[in-house]
Symmetry: D3
Subunit: 161 residues, 6 copies
């Protein structure tokens, strides 16, 4: 009775997506506030799959288009207690720790701007996220010149000293 | 040789379940203490699947019936290094951050009072949790009246201002 | 088009492995620093699968042999944005909270010295980790004598009072 | 021009007080929510000294008497950006980590049910908390029987295993 | 031999200051990276008083003027192991949790854009921070209309729902 | 009636001291466990000033000499709810985050191997810590060569990349 699906996330250009498992409808207000107070310059949409009672996709955000994108992604996953955040003008590195501290959040499956397929299990009861295929598989191992490039890049963008 | 199973968790009424991945038998004492000091009013049982040496289900808690429930759920999962917490008179939102801070805990798969099926992989070596089907899939998107209901509910129960 | 694989991790004796999901190549420098400042006595290797652009396995560590081991494991997983840490002379309990605080880390799949099989999904796009089979399934439930043994062991090694 | 004062906190029976340094009026809503979601059974009052603009004592809580108590204590301190939480039916150990995670909180001076004097500095500009005299000075060092008593007490109340 | 001083911090318009106690010269690189990765849009300067060996004010930042401001403030405090962060285009609420997680940081004395006097103790050995006078003392308690104003403000700026 | 004292901490060679404010006698077991599981190679002593009831200095550790040192320092401070940790073969940077997560801990005054004077307030009721004079005041600002030395040192000891 168990079926596996891959669900491709819809992701506009220059947008990151964070997908996680949470519980309780308070999730949408709390992740909203975590993002808004950590990265006030961000534009974002957020959706959470309520999985009992009315079973509605609960949504928040400060950008109507991104909120619709988050909702469509959450509906495509159709997995209870899963949340989807789509965000522009901020990066996951700015705010993952703030999301992790939200007291309803269980775990974060991914944070990425890559093309992303989510592996979903479907039973008669409902659906659940098993994992993500996040971008491409590696094509090699970095060599000395690649290490130098990476090291320089992180300093050029000001993220490391 | 890989087989997928769905394992339904046994969950009494008005009880929440938290399932996670950890390591080391110290997990049972540490999660016990995290729950007992954060939510002293809670009744709970806890089980952890030791996955080397004696390979016993290690258990703790302050309620014998819930401890037995946790043990049966952990045995049904049969996945190494997985823990199961079943709890009454407290909610996951009260204590997920305390569990997350336990130094042996890797991740939390779910926290819920919904009917729950766990997707488990079985190989010749053993079993592992892949994900959870937590309650039902969404049946629609919230509209203005639903947002108002949600907003009011969170204030009526005193969780938000 | 979705295929499931089990990938066995290569793990030398007296070594622990931590596998997780992250994002961005800064992960290798940040986890390096988290481990080096929390457990300066540790020997370790670290690999991270870059999953866009050059798609290289990025690596760090203070032990060349363990770094090669981490790289081979990350290549075997071939899953984008996954990291593998292999570590000697320190235990996961010493440093999981430090790794969890790294701002690029999404989640930690496992931390173990057991034989470990990783369940991986493969699509045309790439691969993703779904979960882990970590050691053996439980063979029984602890009884009074086992509880006493566990309680004593944790105090004998000085981890609990 | 600098004057030191000791300000005795007003503390009803069976009540704990937490005093800290924060910034921004959002503090009162955020600490309210941190307490309400971590210890929903608690009765509490909260006050925060706004220190620019209208310079009002901002207050919250779910118990009017305790809110008034918090306000009087915050007024007595008259120190900018200081908050005072007075709480019944919950203990600081249940919620200090939740308060620490509030993104406006700088530090926590004390958490206690003892008689408490706060050492305050007064200048022409205003006042600031320097530290606390929390209960009594020690009268001796614990001996073997005292260690046994302490060890037993923590297990009898169920806080440690 | 103990003398108390008040040291007024130099704070340009539209700038916030964070003062804390830390240890080890690695503090300047780590707080730099915490700020740069959490609030990449921020302009800031950072200074740390090394208090053994060469005893130099160690400094970092991405804005030379603010770095000089941080250095002058740290020199004025002349307190060992104290750090001063001055920041524009970001607010303390965006980054206090990131600074708190820096493994060398002991505590944060204040985070504010107010006029600020630091109370410093001076002995023959050196100087230490005792506390801060952060803005003005309260002039009253909020009434219903003030609560409504505060509640609205936090929603108008998008920080709360 | 308020008197200020400076209390010099007794600190053996190659030893670090961490002083903080906490509450409840459970502090000694919890900080013991936080240190022992994060830095198992460390030798340490720990003392906590119980400030109600029996008012005893409560102590723990895995090294009798360091435990006595911690006790003498805690007695010298005579401040209620203060703890003192003295530690060898580990550095504060390895374990400050673990101590901060202990649910009874309010704040950490300092972490240092420098000569240290603690500024203590004494009233008729008892004593309280106001702050620390941690090592020497700065004697200058780092120049280019000093920055290079610091940058190199952190990489040579393997703490930064």
């Amino acid at each position: 009775m168990l079926e596996l699906l891959t669900v491709r996330m819809e992701l506009p250009a220059e947008t990151n997506i964070v997908i996680g498992q949470s519980h309780f409808i308070k999730t949408v207000e709390d992740i909203y506030e975590a993002v808004a107070t950590t990265a006030p310059q961000a534009r974002f949409g957020l959706a959470f799959n309520e999985s009992s009672g009315a079973c509605l996709v609960r949504c928040e955000g400060n950008d109507p288009v991104l909120r619709e994108t988050a909702v469509r992604n959450a509906q495509a996953l159709a997995a209870g207690h899963v949340f989807v955040l789509v965000i522009q003008n901020a990066y996951p590195i700015n705010l993952l720790n703030a999301i992790r501290n939200v007291p309803e959040v269980c775990s974060i499956f991914c944070a990425t701007a890559n093309p992303i397929e989510v592996v979903v299990a479907r039973s008669e009861q409902g659906q659940g996220v098993l994992g993500v295929i996040d971008g491409s598989s590696p094509r090699g191992v970095e060599r000395e010149a690649d290490v130098a490039w990476r090291h320089d890049l992180l300093r050029k963008i000001g993220y490391k000293r």
